[in-house]
């Protein structure tokens, strides 16, 4: 039983075991207790949506916002397929089935207004339409509720289908290539796969709807592999936040290289010499 980290904001005393255990998926030990740092609720919060005829310009808007350094709390990108699903499922009737950005701003009232004005100007320069504000807490909650229900909105499009969620992340500067490339991959696959992304991080997901027919799952996995390969080729990672588990072990050598993988294996062997901690997960055989 060990305790790692502490209440200090930084420290330079020894190996950072907290970070070693985060993302180790139970392969180095079992986490029995977690203390989280709490963040205050901002004095002011506002949210906005805007829509684009063209996915490329939606992504370009995100890149410009990040590059100019506007401290937006959340930016979510939904493609036209995902918006169509959300409109149907969550009655977001003010939205049309177009590529759409959701924003949330945190700060003081003046700071939030300033951030929002900067973002609106950048978005309008990129051809954004229907910039709509939700400063009212109920409107905001409804908007984000719809975002959180995006998975169920996808499932509702094809209730008899299965679902496979992808998880790609690329450097912000490659986000346009990644998103447009993945859209092309989806098109080529012939599958239905709405896209939604936490694009302020360069991270985005698709929900591949898996046809309930022979070979359906294989087609979905093939699309997932194509999406991962595209992200890795752009300097990305095969998982932004969902982890490796069993399914993504095969991509780790491509992403990290054989040497880094050998170091990970040494660490695993040192902390779990009998190989009893979540065997068969994270590291490739």
């Amino acid at each position: 039983m060990i305790r790692t980290g502490g209440r200090v904001r930084k420290s330079s005393t020894g190996y950072d075991l907290t970070r070693l255990f985060i993302g180790s998926e139970g392969t180095l030990g079992i986490i029995t207790e977690i203390q989280l740092r709490l963040h205050g609720i901002p004095e002011a919060i506002s949210a906005a949506t805007c829509q684009f005829q063209d996915m490329a310009r939606a992504v370009e808007t995100v890149i410009e916002i990040m590059q100019i350094g506007v401290p937006v709390a959340r930016i979510e990108l939904l493609d036209e397929v995902q918006v169509e699903a959300c409109v149907a499922y969550s009655q977001l009737n003010h939205l049309r089935p177009l590529p759409t950005l959701f924003f949330e701003f945190h700060g003081t009232p003046a700071g939030v207004a300033e951030q929002a004005a900067q973002v609106e100007a950048l978005a309008l320069d990129n051809g954004a339409e229907g910039f709509a504000w939700a400063t009212d807490a109920d409107d905001r909650a409804r908007l984000w509720r719809a975002r959180h229900d995006a998975y169920w909105a996808c499932r509702a499009m094809r209730p008899t289908y299965g679902a496979l969620i992808t998880d790609t992340i690329v450097p912000i500067s490659r986000l346009a290539d990644a998103v447009l490339g993945v859209k092309a991959d989806i098109e080529a696959s012939g599958l239905l796969a709405p896209m939604v992304g936490h694009v302020g991080d360069g991270n985005f997901h698709t929900v591949i709807l898996v046809p309930p027919e022979e070979g359906g799952m294989e087609r979905a996995w093939a699309l997932d592999r194509a999406i991962v390969a595209r992200g890795l080729a752009l300097g990305g990672s095969c998982s932004g936040e969902h982890g490796v588990g069993a399914g993504k072990r095969g991509f780790l050598e491509t992403e990290h290289g054989a040497g880094a993988l050998a170091v990970m294996r040494s660490v695993k062997a040192a902390l779990d010499p009998s190989g009893i901690l979540n065997p068969g997960k994270l590291l490739p055989d």
Copy 2:
């Protein structure tokens, strides 16, 4: 030769080797190349100083600023001894030898003004005097130059003395206890030790001026140990940023516990089985 991390903002694929190597002080491998993330220069920067009759109220101001969540870019605390040294060395003639806070604010012009007004109000409520602004880049540079020269200002107080720098960090909520306790430790030691801190992190240093006489170094080390012990007792770390090296190895078991230290030793043995990487550093014998 391995490469860790990457250009993505986050990833959840395998053990975080970058964080494992940061702060490992050459005991796990030799870092041959580093890529850093660049941050843009803020649109607006302003700086301010204010002074307090009472150290406790200077620290209380810092705690309130952090707790209210004002995103101050830098807060530095200099005690009255350090300010006296800086005034003499860097001709900061607008300052009196009193506990002093230096602030820097980053953001948009309106955001910076707003942060600064919040901080000024909190400081005045705590009895701050002589709130002075330095929006001009030259004035700001001169102020921070003086801060960066603080070590040399200390040395200039007693040119024939040596110097031993301490490095303590505590949770922000314990900062007042830590700072006032360390001031008392210095007083009790009979040594001269100006204090300067990056207190927005809960981190502060003293420069113990070491008398060039028999037993002088031992007295300085004794004070250093007292300061570390006080920080650890308040839930702190024995080093906020300077690292362990040889000098602080003895505190690691108290800070992390025997179990965590055993895990660190396993990692070290796995990556450096022959014990040839910076031997005798970081981990206690």
